[in-house]
Amino acid sequence: MNDKILLSVNGLSKHFGGLAAVQNVSFSIRQGEIVSLIGPNGAGKTTVFNLLSGVFSPSAGTINLDGEDITGKRPFEVCQKGVGRTFQIMQPFPQMTVLENIITSSLFGRVPKISLSQAEEEAVELCKLVGLGDKQNTFPRNLTTPGQKRIEIARALAVKPKLLLLDEVMSGLTPTETIEAIKLVRSLRDKGTTVFLIEHVMKVVMGISDRVIVVHHGEKIAEGTCAEVANDPKVIKAYLGEHAEDTKESMC
Protein backbone atom coordinates (compact mmCIF):
# COMPACT_ATOMS: atom_id res chain seq x y z
CA MET A 1 0.00 0.00 0.00
CA ASN A 2 1.23 3.47 -0.72
CA ASP A 3 -0.09 6.89 -0.02
CA LYS A 4 -1.30 7.76 -3.47
CA ILE A 5 -4.97 8.54 -3.43
CA LEU A 6 -6.83 6.62 -6.12
CA LEU A 7 -10.41 7.57 -5.46
CA SER A 8 -11.65 10.61 -3.68
CA VAL A 9 -15.30 11.31 -3.20
CA ASN A 10 -16.49 14.66 -2.00
CA GLY A 11 -19.93 15.64 -0.74
CA LEU A 12 -21.64 12.98 -2.81
CA SER A 13 -25.45 13.11 -2.75
CA LYS A 14 -28.20 11.43 -4.68
CA HIS A 15 -31.88 12.22 -4.42
CA PHE A 16 -34.70 10.21 -5.91
CA GLY A 17 -37.68 12.47 -6.05
CA GLY A 18 -37.70 13.93 -2.56
CA LEU A 19 -35.86 11.06 -0.92
CA ALA A 20 -32.15 11.30 -0.28
CA ALA A 21 -30.62 7.89 -0.93
CA VAL A 22 -27.09 9.16 -0.40
CA GLN A 23 -26.34 12.36 1.44
CA ASN A 24 -23.14 14.32 1.56
CA VAL A 25 -20.79 11.35 1.64
CA SER A 26 -17.04 12.01 1.44
CA PHE A 27 -14.19 9.55 1.63
CA SER A 28 -11.05 8.56 -0.19
CA ILE A 29 -9.35 5.31 -1.03
CA ARG A 30 -5.60 4.90 -1.43
CA GLN A 31 -4.04 2.84 -4.13
CA GLY A 32 -3.72 -0.80 -3.13
CA GLU A 33 -6.16 -0.68 -0.26
CA ILE A 34 -9.00 -3.03 0.44
CA VAL A 35 -11.86 -0.98 1.81
CA SER A 36 -15.27 -2.24 2.86
CA LEU A 37 -18.50 -0.34 2.72
CA ILE A 38 -20.93 -1.60 5.30
CA GLY A 39 -24.24 -0.54 6.69
CA PRO A 40 -27.66 -1.99 7.44
CA ASN A 41 -29.86 -3.12 4.60
CA GLY A 42 -31.16 -0.20 2.60
CA ALA A 43 -28.52 2.19 3.92
CA GLY A 44 -27.55 3.30 0.41
CA LYS A 45 -24.46 1.17 -0.20
CA THR A 46 -25.45 -0.01 -3.63
CA THR A 47 -26.48 3.53 -4.53
CA VAL A 48 -22.94 4.64 -3.71
CA PHE A 49 -21.63 1.96 -6.08
CA ASN A 50 -24.07 3.02 -8.75
CA LEU A 51 -22.83 6.59 -8.40
CA LEU A 52 -19.19 5.53 -8.55
CA SER A 53 -19.72 3.44 -11.67
CA GLY A 54 -21.75 6.13 -13.42
CA VAL A 55 -25.04 4.23 -13.45
CA PHE A 56 -26.58 7.19 -11.61
CA SER A 57 -25.27 10.68 -11.91
CA PRO A 58 -24.97 12.39 -8.55
CA SER A 59 -27.30 15.18 -7.46
CA ALA A 60 -24.32 16.89 -5.86
CA GLY A 61 -20.67 16.27 -5.09
CA THR A 62 -17.65 15.13 -7.05
CA ILE A 63 -15.92 11.85 -7.74
CA ASN A 64 -12.26 11.88 -8.62
CA LEU A 65 -10.44 8.81 -9.91
CA ASP A 66 -6.66 8.83 -10.18
CA GLY A 67 -6.54 12.59 -10.57
CA GLU A 68 -9.35 12.72 -13.10
CA ASP A 69 -12.80 14.09 -12.45
CA ILE A 70 -15.30 11.40 -13.39
CA THR A 71 -18.38 13.02 -11.87
CA GLY A 72 -21.41 12.56 -14.07
CA LYS A 73 -19.53 10.55 -16.67
CA ARG A 74 -21.55 7.80 -18.29
CA PRO A 75 -20.95 4.20 -17.21
CA PHE A 76 -18.89 3.15 -20.23
CA GLU A 77 -16.64 6.19 -19.83
CA VAL A 78 -16.15 5.48 -16.15
CA CYS A 79 -15.34 1.89 -17.02
CA GLN A 80 -12.78 2.95 -19.60
CA LYS A 81 -11.19 5.21 -16.99
CA GLY A 82 -10.66 2.13 -14.84
CA VAL A 83 -13.61 1.19 -12.67
CA GLY A 84 -14.87 -2.38 -12.84
CA ARG A 85 -17.88 -3.56 -10.90
CA THR A 86 -20.08 -6.51 -10.11
CA PHE A 87 -23.80 -6.46 -9.55
CA GLN A 88 -25.43 -7.59 -6.36
CA ILE A 89 -28.15 -9.28 -8.36
CA MET A 90 -26.14 -11.28 -10.84
CA GLN A 91 -26.70 -10.18 -14.39
CA PRO A 92 -24.80 -12.40 -16.80
CA PHE A 93 -25.66 -12.17 -20.50
CA PRO A 94 -27.97 -15.17 -20.64
CA GLN A 95 -27.39 -16.18 -24.25
CA MET A 96 -23.62 -16.02 -24.13
CA THR A 97 -21.40 -18.75 -22.75
CA VAL A 98 -19.33 -18.05 -19.66
CA LEU A 99 -16.29 -17.41 -21.79
CA GLU A 100 -18.13 -15.09 -24.16
CA ASN A 101 -19.45 -13.14 -21.20
CA ILE A 102 -15.91 -12.49 -20.09
CA ILE A 103 -14.51 -11.86 -23.57
CA THR A 104 -17.10 -9.13 -24.05
CA SER A 105 -15.81 -7.40 -20.98
CA SER A 106 -12.15 -7.75 -22.02
CA LEU A 107 -12.82 -6.30 -25.43
CA PHE A 108 -14.31 -3.04 -24.28
CA GLY A 109 -12.75 -2.38 -20.93
CA ARG A 110 -10.06 0.04 -19.90
CA VAL A 111 -7.67 -1.10 -22.65
CA PRO A 112 -10.07 -1.47 -25.51
CA LYS A 113 -7.59 -1.88 -28.34
CA ILE A 114 -6.94 -5.57 -27.87
CA SER A 115 -7.72 -8.12 -30.55
CA LEU A 116 -10.31 -10.82 -30.33
CA SER A 117 -7.78 -13.61 -29.87
CA GLN A 118 -5.97 -11.68 -27.13
CA ALA A 119 -9.27 -11.07 -25.40
CA GLU A 120 -10.05 -14.74 -25.62
CA GLU A 121 -6.72 -15.69 -24.09
CA GLU A 122 -7.26 -13.25 -21.27
CA ALA A 123 -10.74 -14.54 -20.69
CA VAL A 124 -9.51 -18.12 -20.50
CA GLU A 125 -6.93 -17.02 -17.93
CA LEU A 126 -9.57 -15.20 -15.91
CA CYS A 127 -11.86 -18.22 -16.03
CA LYS A 128 -9.11 -20.27 -14.45
CA LEU A 129 -8.35 -17.54 -11.93
CA VAL A 130 -11.91 -17.41 -10.62
CA GLY A 131 -12.32 -21.15 -10.80
CA LEU A 132 -14.53 -21.47 -13.85
CA GLY A 133 -11.88 -23.18 -15.96
CA ASP A 134 -14.03 -26.23 -16.64
CA LYS A 135 -17.25 -24.27 -17.15
CA GLN A 136 -16.05 -21.99 -19.96
CA ASN A 137 -18.49 -23.19 -22.57
CA THR A 138 -21.59 -23.62 -20.47
CA PHE A 139 -24.30 -21.03 -20.26
CA PRO A 140 -24.72 -18.98 -17.09
CA ARG A 141 -28.14 -20.45 -16.30
CA ASN A 142 -26.49 -23.84 -15.75
CA LEU A 143 -24.32 -22.45 -12.98
CA THR A 144 -25.17 -22.18 -9.32
CA THR A 145 -25.37 -18.86 -7.47
CA PRO A 146 -21.67 -18.90 -6.50
CA GLY A 147 -20.80 -19.86 -10.07
CA GLN A 148 -22.65 -16.87 -11.41
CA LYS A 149 -20.90 -14.67 -8.88
CA ARG A 150 -17.62 -15.88 -10.29
CA ILE A 151 -18.74 -14.73 -13.73
CA GLU A 152 -19.50 -11.34 -12.25
CA ILE A 153 -16.06 -11.11 -10.69
CA ALA A 154 -14.30 -12.31 -13.83
CA ARG A 155 -16.19 -9.82 -15.96
CA ALA A 156 -15.32 -6.99 -13.61
CA LEU A 157 -11.67 -8.04 -13.68
CA ALA A 158 -11.65 -8.35 -17.44
CA VAL A 159 -11.94 -4.60 -17.84
CA LYS A 160 -8.54 -4.39 -16.09
CA PRO A 161 -9.76 -1.97 -13.47
CA LYS A 162 -7.69 0.30 -11.30
CA LEU A 163 -10.57 0.21 -8.85
CA LEU A 164 -12.67 -2.89 -8.43
CA LEU A 165 -16.13 -2.55 -6.92
CA LEU A 166 -17.47 -5.79 -5.49
CA ASP A 167 -21.12 -5.75 -4.47
CA GLU A 168 -21.78 -8.59 -2.01
CA VAL A 169 -19.89 -11.23 -3.90
CA MET A 170 -19.35 -13.42 -0.83
CA SER A 171 -22.88 -13.79 0.41
CA GLY A 172 -24.21 -17.23 -0.18
CA LEU A 173 -20.80 -18.85 -0.57
CA THR A 174 -19.79 -21.94 1.36
CA PRO A 175 -16.91 -21.55 3.86
CA THR A 176 -14.42 -23.06 1.45
CA GLU A 177 -15.62 -20.81 -1.31
CA THR A 178 -15.50 -17.79 0.97
CA ILE A 179 -11.90 -18.54 1.84
CA GLU A 180 -11.12 -18.93 -1.85
CA ALA A 181 -12.82 -15.61 -2.54
CA ILE A 182 -10.86 -13.88 0.19
CA LYS A 183 -7.63 -15.28 -1.18
CA LEU A 184 -8.65 -14.06 -4.61
CA VAL A 185 -9.31 -10.54 -3.35
CA ARG A 186 -5.96 -10.48 -1.55
CA SER A 187 -4.13 -11.70 -4.64
CA LEU A 188 -5.80 -9.02 -6.72
CA ARG A 189 -4.63 -6.40 -4.31
CA ASP A 190 -1.13 -7.83 -4.48
CA LYS A 191 -1.28 -7.40 -8.23
CA GLY A 192 -2.08 -3.73 -7.75
CA THR A 193 -5.85 -3.57 -7.96
CA THR A 194 -7.58 -1.47 -5.38
CA VAL A 195 -10.68 -3.14 -4.02
CA PHE A 196 -13.79 -1.51 -2.64
CA LEU A 197 -16.41 -3.93 -1.47
CA ILE A 198 -19.87 -4.08 -0.01
CA GLU A 199 -20.23 -7.03 2.31
CA HIS A 200 -22.71 -8.39 4.75
CA VAL A 201 -20.63 -11.19 6.12
CA MET A 202 -19.05 -9.30 8.96
CA LYS A 203 -16.29 -11.80 9.55
CA VAL A 204 -15.17 -11.39 5.98
CA VAL A 205 -15.24 -7.64 6.24
CA MET A 206 -13.21 -7.65 9.39
CA GLY A 207 -10.90 -10.27 8.04
CA ILE A 208 -9.73 -8.60 4.88
CA SER A 209 -10.35 -4.89 4.97
CA ASP A 210 -7.70 -2.33 5.66
CA ARG A 211 -10.39 0.15 6.42
CA VAL A 212 -14.14 0.18 6.82
CA ILE A 213 -16.62 2.86 5.88
CA VAL A 214 -20.04 2.70 7.51
CA VAL A 215 -23.10 4.28 5.95
CA HIS A 216 -26.52 4.54 7.41
CA HIS A 217 -29.55 6.29 5.94
CA GLY A 218 -27.40 7.45 3.09
CA GLU A 219 -24.91 9.20 5.35
CA LYS A 220 -21.44 8.19 6.33
CA ILE A 221 -21.46 7.63 10.07
CA ALA A 222 -18.00 6.21 10.63
CA GLU A 223 -14.74 5.39 8.96
CA GLY A 224 -11.59 3.74 10.19
CA THR A 225 -9.97 0.46 10.95
CA CYS A 226 -12.01 -2.48 11.91
CA ALA A 227 -11.54 -2.00 15.62
CA GLU A 228 -12.25 1.71 15.52
CA VAL A 229 -15.45 1.22 13.67
CA ALA A 230 -16.62 -1.67 15.78
CA ASN A 231 -16.35 0.38 18.93
CA ASP A 232 -18.00 3.44 17.50
CA PRO A 233 -21.24 3.92 19.43
CA LYS A 234 -22.96 5.34 16.36
CA VAL A 235 -22.21 2.21 14.39
CA ILE A 236 -23.39 -0.07 17.13
CA LYS A 237 -26.57 1.91 17.41
CA ALA A 238 -27.16 1.81 13.69
CA TYR A 239 -26.85 -1.92 13.65
CA LEU A 240 -28.50 -2.86 16.85
CA GLY A 241 -30.89 -0.12 17.71
CA GLU A 242 -31.17 0.48 21.42
CA HIS A 243 -30.04 -2.92 22.60
CA ALA A 244 -26.43 -2.53 21.80
CA GLU A 245 -24.43 -2.96 24.92
CA ASP A 246 -24.02 -6.70 25.02
CA THR A 247 -22.42 -6.99 21.60
CA LYS A 248 -19.96 -4.16 21.61
CA GLU A 249 -16.89 -6.29 21.49
CA SER A 250 -18.18 -8.88 19.17
CA MET A 251 -17.55 -7.22 15.88
CA CYS A 252 -13.91 -7.92 15.41
Binding site: N41, R141, G172, V201, K203
Partner: protein, 265 residues
Protein backbone atom coordinates in the same frame (compact mmCIF):
# COMPACT_ATOMS: atom_id res chain seq x y z
CA UNK B 1 -51.72 -24.56 9.96
CA UNK B 2 -49.21 -24.03 7.17
CA UNK B 3 -47.10 -26.85 5.88
CA UNK B 4 -44.49 -26.80 3.11
CA UNK B 5 -43.26 -30.20 2.05
CA UNK B 6 -40.15 -30.65 -0.05
CA UNK B 7 -40.73 -27.79 -2.42
CA UNK B 8 -38.50 -26.89 -5.36
CA UNK B 9 -38.88 -23.46 -6.96
CA UNK B 10 -37.34 -22.14 -10.17
CA UNK B 11 -36.98 -18.66 -11.62
CA UNK B 12 -37.03 -19.47 -15.31
CA UNK B 13 -34.28 -22.04 -15.62
CA UNK B 14 -32.57 -21.15 -12.39
CA UNK B 15 -33.44 -23.15 -9.33
CA UNK B 16 -33.96 -21.00 -6.27
CA UNK B 17 -35.19 -23.46 -3.64
CA UNK B 18 -34.27 -27.10 -3.04
CA UNK B 19 -36.37 -29.46 -0.92
CA UNK B 20 -37.59 -26.80 1.46
CA UNK B 21 -39.97 -27.96 4.17
CA UNK B 22 -41.38 -26.00 7.05
CA UNK B 23 -44.45 -25.88 9.21
CA UNK B 24 -46.21 -23.16 11.13
CA UNK B 25 -48.73 -23.86 13.86
CA UNK B 26 -51.66 -21.70 14.82
CA UNK B 27 -50.63 -18.72 16.93
CA UNK B 28 -46.89 -19.12 16.45
CA UNK B 29 -44.29 -16.58 15.42
CA UNK B 30 -41.81 -18.24 13.10
CA UNK B 31 -38.69 -16.65 11.69
CA UNK B 32 -36.72 -17.67 8.62
CA UNK B 33 -33.19 -16.31 8.75
CA UNK B 34 -30.46 -16.46 6.16
CA UNK B 35 -28.13 -14.22 4.23
CA UNK B 36 -28.94 -12.14 1.19
CA UNK B 37 -29.98 -14.21 -1.75
CA UNK B 38 -30.50 -17.35 0.30
CA UNK B 39 -34.05 -17.60 -0.98
CA UNK B 40 -35.97 -16.36 2.06
CA UNK B 41 -38.17 -14.00 0.08
CA UNK B 42 -38.73 -16.70 -2.50
CA UNK B 43 -40.34 -18.88 0.16
CA UNK B 44 -42.81 -16.16 1.08
CA UNK B 45 -43.53 -15.31 -2.54
CA UNK B 46 -44.16 -18.95 -3.20
CA UNK B 47 -46.55 -19.36 -0.28
CA UNK B 48 -48.48 -16.30 -1.41
CA UNK B 49 -48.80 -17.71 -4.91
CA UNK B 50 -46.51 -15.30 -6.75
CA UNK B 51 -44.11 -18.12 -7.65
CA UNK B 52 -45.12 -21.60 -8.61
CA UNK B 53 -43.50 -24.74 -7.26
CA UNK B 54 -42.01 -27.47 -9.45
CA UNK B 55 -42.10 -30.16 -6.81
CA UNK B 56 -43.61 -30.72 -3.37
CA UNK B 57 -46.76 -29.32 -1.83
CA UNK B 58 -48.03 -26.43 0.24
CA UNK B 59 -50.99 -26.86 2.55
CA UNK B 60 -52.82 -24.20 4.48
CA UNK B 61 -55.43 -25.22 7.02
CA UNK B 62 -55.43 -28.71 5.55
CA UNK B 63 -56.02 -27.51 1.99
CA UNK B 64 -53.55 -27.68 -0.91
CA UNK B 65 -52.87 -24.09 -1.97
CA UNK B 66 -49.89 -24.46 -4.28
CA UNK B 67 -52.09 -24.53 -7.39
CA UNK B 68 -54.17 -21.50 -6.44
CA UNK B 69 -53.69 -18.00 -7.80
CA UNK B 70 -52.29 -15.33 -5.52
CA UNK B 71 -55.64 -13.59 -5.07
CA UNK B 72 -57.33 -16.83 -4.05
CA UNK B 73 -54.66 -17.48 -1.45
CA UNK B 74 -55.20 -14.02 0.04
CA UNK B 75 -58.90 -14.79 0.27
CA UNK B 76 -58.11 -17.93 2.25
CA UNK B 77 -56.46 -15.74 4.88
CA UNK B 78 -52.76 -15.62 3.97
CA UNK B 79 -51.49 -12.07 3.60
CA UNK B 80 -48.02 -10.73 3.02
CA UNK B 81 -46.24 -7.51 3.84
CA UNK B 82 -43.86 -7.55 0.90
CA UNK B 83 -40.26 -6.46 0.78
CA UNK B 84 -40.04 -2.85 -0.32
CA UNK B 85 -43.60 -2.33 0.93
CA UNK B 86 -45.20 -2.19 -2.52
CA UNK B 87 -47.75 0.50 -1.72
CA UNK B 88 -49.93 2.33 -4.20
CA UNK B 89 -47.85 5.51 -4.06
CA UNK B 90 -50.31 7.82 -5.78
CA UNK B 91 -53.23 6.84 -3.60
CA UNK B 92 -53.83 8.21 -0.12
CA UNK B 93 -53.02 6.30 3.04
CA UNK B 94 -56.68 5.69 3.67
CA UNK B 95 -57.28 4.47 0.13
CA UNK B 96 -54.33 2.11 0.44
CA UNK B 97 -55.77 0.69 3.62
CA UNK B 98 -59.27 0.42 2.23
CA UNK B 99 -58.01 -1.41 -0.85
CA UNK B 100 -56.67 -4.06 1.50
CA UNK B 101 -60.21 -5.09 2.35
CA UNK B 102 -61.97 -4.15 -0.86
CA UNK B 103 -61.51 -7.43 -2.71
CA UNK B 104 -61.96 -9.87 0.15
CA UNK B 105 -65.57 -10.41 1.01
CA UNK B 106 -65.19 -11.57 4.59
CA UNK B 107 -62.91 -8.59 5.33
CA UNK B 108 -65.02 -6.08 3.41
CA UNK B 109 -68.00 -6.46 5.70
CA UNK B 110 -65.81 -5.69 8.72
CA UNK B 111 -63.73 -2.99 7.11
CA UNK B 112 -64.72 -0.03 9.33
CA UNK B 113 -64.07 -2.03 12.45
CA UNK B 114 -60.71 -3.24 11.13
CA UNK B 115 -59.77 0.27 10.11
CA UNK B 116 -60.41 1.50 13.65
CA UNK B 117 -58.26 -1.31 14.98
CA UNK B 118 -55.42 -0.37 12.63
CA UNK B 119 -55.72 3.28 13.57
CA UNK B 120 -55.45 2.27 17.20
CA UNK B 121 -52.31 0.27 16.38
CA UNK B 122 -50.83 3.10 14.33
CA UNK B 123 -52.35 6.42 15.40
CA UNK B 124 -50.04 8.23 12.99
CA UNK B 125 -51.86 6.65 10.04
CA UNK B 126 -55.06 8.27 11.18
CA UNK B 127 -53.36 11.66 11.12
CA UNK B 128 -51.89 11.00 7.68
CA UNK B 129 -55.07 9.48 6.30
CA UNK B 130 -55.40 11.79 3.32
CA UNK B 131 -51.70 12.07 2.51
CA UNK B 132 -50.38 10.25 -0.58
CA UNK B 133 -48.68 7.04 0.44
CA UNK B 134 -45.66 7.80 -1.74
CA UNK B 135 -44.83 10.89 0.29
CA UNK B 136 -44.56 9.14 3.67
CA UNK B 137 -41.31 8.27 5.39
CA UNK B 138 -40.01 4.73 5.20
CA UNK B 139 -41.29 3.76 8.63
CA UNK B 140 -44.73 5.19 7.98
CA UNK B 141 -44.88 3.40 4.67
CA UNK B 142 -44.06 0.18 6.45
CA UNK B 143 -46.97 0.79 8.79
CA UNK B 144 -49.29 1.36 5.86
CA UNK B 145 -48.08 -1.89 4.33
CA UNK B 146 -48.73 -3.77 7.57
CA UNK B 147 -52.06 -2.05 7.98
CA UNK B 148 -53.09 -2.89 4.44
CA UNK B 149 -52.26 -6.55 5.00
CA UNK B 150 -54.21 -6.57 8.27
CA UNK B 151 -57.23 -5.08 6.51
CA UNK B 152 -57.70 -8.41 4.79
CA UNK B 153 -58.20 -10.03 8.21
CA UNK B 154 -55.51 -12.64 7.68
CA UNK B 155 -55.10 -15.80 9.71
CA UNK B 156 -51.46 -15.99 8.69
CA UNK B 157 -49.48 -12.82 8.14
CA UNK B 158 -46.08 -12.99 6.45
CA UNK B 159 -43.47 -10.26 6.71
CA UNK B 160 -40.66 -9.95 4.18
CA UNK B 161 -37.81 -8.06 5.82
CA UNK B 162 -39.92 -5.47 7.57
CA UNK B 163 -36.87 -3.75 9.06
CA UNK B 164 -35.26 -3.11 5.68
CA UNK B 165 -33.96 0.42 5.39
CA UNK B 166 -35.47 1.66 8.62
CA UNK B 167 -33.85 3.67 11.39
CA UNK B 168 -33.12 1.67 14.58
CA UNK B 169 -35.91 3.23 16.57
CA UNK B 170 -38.27 2.52 13.70
CA UNK B 171 -37.07 -1.06 13.56
CA UNK B 172 -37.94 -1.47 17.23
CA UNK B 173 -41.31 0.02 16.53
CA UNK B 174 -41.95 -2.41 13.68
CA UNK B 175 -40.96 -5.41 15.76
CA UNK B 176 -43.18 -4.25 18.59
CA UNK B 177 -46.02 -4.04 16.13
CA UNK B 178 -45.36 -7.54 14.93
CA UNK B 179 -45.55 -8.74 18.51
CA UNK B 180 -48.78 -6.83 19.04
CA UNK B 181 -50.31 -8.32 15.93
CA UNK B 182 -49.27 -11.74 17.14
CA UNK B 183 -50.93 -11.12 20.47
CA UNK B 184 -54.13 -10.35 18.62
CA UNK B 185 -54.15 -13.97 17.53
CA UNK B 186 -52.62 -13.70 14.08
CA UNK B 187 -50.06 -16.35 13.20
CA UNK B 188 -46.84 -14.87 11.90
CA UNK B 189 -44.16 -15.99 9.49
CA UNK B 190 -41.26 -13.59 9.30
CA UNK B 191 -38.21 -13.34 7.10
CA UNK B 192 -35.38 -11.25 8.47
CA UNK B 193 -31.73 -10.43 8.27
CA UNK B 194 -31.93 -8.74 11.62
CA UNK B 195 -31.48 -12.00 13.43
CA UNK B 196 -31.04 -10.84 16.96
CA UNK B 197 -34.19 -8.84 17.19
CA UNK B 198 -36.37 -11.15 15.21
CA UNK B 199 -35.28 -14.14 17.24
CA UNK B 200 -36.29 -12.33 20.39
CA UNK B 201 -39.91 -12.54 19.47
CA UNK B 202 -39.93 -15.81 17.61
CA UNK B 203 -41.04 -19.16 18.93
CA UNK B 204 -39.01 -21.11 16.45
CA UNK B 205 -36.66 -20.34 13.59
CA UNK B 206 -35.50 -21.88 10.35
CA UNK B 207 -32.12 -21.21 8.78
CA UNK B 208 -31.88 -21.04 5.03
CA UNK B 209 -28.73 -21.00 2.98
CA UNK B 210 -28.32 -21.12 -0.79
CA UNK B 211 -31.92 -22.15 -1.23
CA UNK B 212 -31.78 -25.08 1.20
CA UNK B 213 -32.77 -25.45 4.79
CA UNK B 214 -29.63 -25.80 6.85
CA UNK B 215 -31.41 -27.94 9.41
CA UNK B 216 -34.24 -30.32 8.75
CA UNK B 217 -36.17 -29.09 11.77
CA UNK B 218 -36.68 -25.65 13.08
CA UNK B 219 -34.39 -24.55 15.87
CA UNK B 220 -35.60 -23.49 19.26
CA UNK B 221 -34.89 -19.97 20.22
CA UNK B 222 -33.20 -18.75 23.30
CA UNK B 223 -34.31 -15.14 23.45
CA UNK B 224 -31.31 -14.04 25.48
CA UNK B 225 -28.68 -15.33 23.21
CA UNK B 226 -28.59 -15.56 19.47
CA UNK B 227 -28.28 -19.23 18.95
CA UNK B 228 -26.61 -18.97 15.59
CA UNK B 229 -23.32 -17.71 16.86
CA UNK B 230 -24.03 -15.76 19.95
CA UNK B 231 -21.89 -12.87 18.91
CA UNK B 232 -22.80 -11.50 15.56
CA UNK B 233 -24.36 -8.21 14.72
CA UNK B 234 -26.36 -9.10 11.70
CA UNK B 235 -26.91 -12.57 10.49
CA UNK B 236 -23.56 -14.21 10.16
CA UNK B 237 -24.12 -16.90 7.60
CA UNK B 238 -23.18 -20.17 9.10
CA UNK B 239 -20.32 -20.36 6.68
CA UNK B 240 -18.59 -17.32 8.07
CA UNK B 241 -18.84 -18.46 11.66
CA UNK B 242 -17.61 -21.90 11.00
CA UNK B 243 -14.77 -20.63 8.95
CA UNK B 244 -13.30 -18.75 11.83
CA UNK B 245 -14.40 -20.95 14.64
CA UNK B 246 -13.62 -24.32 13.22
CA UNK B 247 -11.25 -23.74 10.38
CA UNK B 248 -12.71 -25.41 7.31
CA UNK B 249 -15.57 -27.73 8.12
CA UNK B 250 -16.67 -29.94 5.26
CA UNK B 251 -20.34 -29.50 6.02
CA UNK B 252 -21.45 -26.34 7.74
CA UNK B 253 -25.05 -27.45 7.97
CA UNK B 254 -24.24 -30.53 9.95
CA UNK B 255 -22.03 -28.56 12.21
CA UNK B 256 -24.76 -26.13 13.02
CA UNK B 257 -27.17 -28.97 13.54
CA UNK B 258 -24.82 -30.35 16.17
CA UNK B 259 -24.65 -27.07 17.93
CA UNK B 260 -28.36 -26.66 17.89
CA UNK B 261 -28.98 -30.07 19.33
CA UNK B 262 -26.41 -29.42 22.00
CA UNK B 263 -28.29 -26.31 22.90
CA UNK B 264 -31.59 -28.04 23.21
CA UNK B 265 -30.32 -30.81 25.42
Amino acid sequence: MLELKWIDVYYGNIQALWDVSLSVKEGEVIVIVGSNGAGKSTILRTISGMNKIKKGSIEFGGQRIDLLRADEIVRLGVSMVPEGRELFPRLSVRENLELGAAYIDRAYSRRTETLQWIYSLFPILHERGSQLAGTLSGGEQQMVAIGRALMSRPRLLMFDEPSLGLAPLMVDEVFKTVTKVSQEGVTILLVEQNVRQSLKMAHRAYVLENGRMVTKQSIDVDPEKCILCGECVEICPVSAIDMTVNGQPENPGRDLGRRVSRKSQ
